[in-house]
Structures are given as structure tokens and as C-alpha cells.
């Protein structure tokens, strides 16, 4: 059975800190790994990773995938209170199948 495990489950940091969120997975016929940010209701898409070792970057957020060790990390530098959210990791397999989601990491950034 496909599985996605995120750690830590929750994290509290101060503004300006750097955080690393972890995602490990087991999936048959891996296709992609995706990161989402969920603040209120709907998850918003952050990154999609398909190849090992290639960093995706958007402002203070970056992510990288290791397909050999079956994990990904999401880094947020110089955190701000607006980064407070649940960060979801999801893995897709080939074919028309839905993503498998982890339980998420709840990040709280305090001023």
C-alpha cells in the first residue's frame, strides 16, 4: 500500500528561523512528489518534483527530492508569520490515480 510519512507533525519557530520539513514515501511506480500549503480550507500548490537532486525554489521556499532514499525536504528560510500553515506532501504514481497525501506538518511561526 502506498504511504507518505511527514515529520515533524508540528513545529513552532520564531520569525527569522529556518525550518526543514521532511517527507518520506513508499509508492509503486513513482511519478512525482508534490508539496502543498494549506492555510484555511484549500491546499495551494507549491512544488512538484520528479527528478532527484534538482532543487526547486520559489522565494524563501525550496525543495529537493531524493529518489534513491525515497524522501523529500521542504526548506523555508527567514520564516514569517504568514508562513504559518499546514504543509502537505503528496506522492503520485503513474496512470490516472489520485495523489496519496501525508498527514501534514503544522508550522506555527511566532513573532
Amino acid at each position: 500500500e502506498d504511504k507518505v510519512v511527514q515529520s515533524p507533525l508540528s513545529l513552532v519557530v520564531h520569525e527569522g528561523d529556518t525550518v526543514t520539513l521532511n517527507c518520506s514515501y513508499e509508492v509503486t511506480n513513482f511519478r512525482s512528489l508534490l508539496w502543498y500549503k494549506q492555510e484555511k480550507k484549500a491546499p495551494t500548490f507549491l512544488f512538484m518534483l520528479t527528478s532527484s537532486g534538482i532543487e526547486k525554489k520559489s522565494g524563501r521556499l525550496s525543495s529537493i527530492l531524493d529518489k534513491k532514499e525515497l524522501f523529500s525536504i521542504l526548506n523555508i528560510t527567514a520564516t514569517q508569520t504568514g508562513d504559518s500553515a499546514v504543509y502537505l506532501c503528496a506522492v503520485g504514481s503513474s496512470g490516472n490515480t489520485p495523489l496519496v497525501f501525508g498527514k501534514g506538518t503544522r508550522l506555527s511561526v511566532i513573532a
Binding site: A42, T50, P98
Partner: protein, 115 residues
């Protein structure tokens, strides 16, 4: 990407009643999904909405409780039937783009409270 709208955005319903949630996409998509997110929990897939055929339900979800329609490639509905307080959740419509890595995008969600 895809632009997805959902109606209603929230509702408060009485126990025993039913609510139908609508999902509209701005482009034709093959794959549409319905998720539930109970308070403090992660996303749980309810079913895949198939165009022109019956939805494919995940373990623990049945058609009688969550009937789904998918009349075309841009629209779907999810009905939550005979509601109980345990059905209080956020319900999310999601679509998967074709090609690429299969990104999924989410609608804004429907927050349902059952009293």
C-alpha cells in the same frame, strides 16, 4: 493549472438532511476527485468522479451516503446524504491535470457543519 469553484462555500445543516456540493472547473479535465478533511486531520479521498460512469469509491465510503454525479468534463457534484454531526468536515473538489507529473489542484472547499 486549473481554476476551480465550489458551491456552497459553507453551510450549517440539520441532522438527517442532505446537502449537494457543486464543483466547476474552467477547463475540461479527465480526473476529478472528492476529498474530506475532518477537523485536525489530513485529506481523505472519498471517490474519483468518472465522467459517464459510476464514481469509484474508496474503502469506507459508499454511494448511498455520498452519491456523485459527473455529467461532463468540467462539472461534478457530491451529495452528503442523511447527515450526522460526524459528517462535519471540509469537503474539497480536486482535479488532476493531464500530462506532466499529474499535478492536482483544489477548489476552495466547502465547510459543512451538521447540528
Amino acid at each position: 493549472s486549473a481554476v476551480i469553484s465550489q458551491k456552497p462555500s459553507r453551510d450549517i445543516c440539520q441532522r438527517g438532511t442532505s446537502l449537494t456540493i457543486q464543483c466547476q472547473v474552467d477547463s475540461q479535465v479527465t480526473m476529478m476527485f472528492w476529498y474530506r478533511q475532518q477537523p485536525g486531520q489530513s485529506l481523505t479521498l472519498i471517490a474519483t468522479a468518472n465522467q459517464g460512469s459510476e464514481a469509484t469509491y474508496e474503502s469506507g465510503f459508499v454511494i448511498d451516503k455520498f452519491p456523485i454525479s459527473r455529467p461532463n468534463l468540467t462539472f461534478s457534484t457530491l451529495t452528503v446524504s442523511n447527515m450526522s454531526p460526524e459528517d462535519s468536515s471540509i469537503y474539497l473538489c480536486s482535479v488532476q491535470t493531464t500530462g506532466g507529473g499529474g499535478e492536482q489542484y483544489f477548489g476552495p472547499g466547502t465547510r459543512l457543519t451538521v447540528t
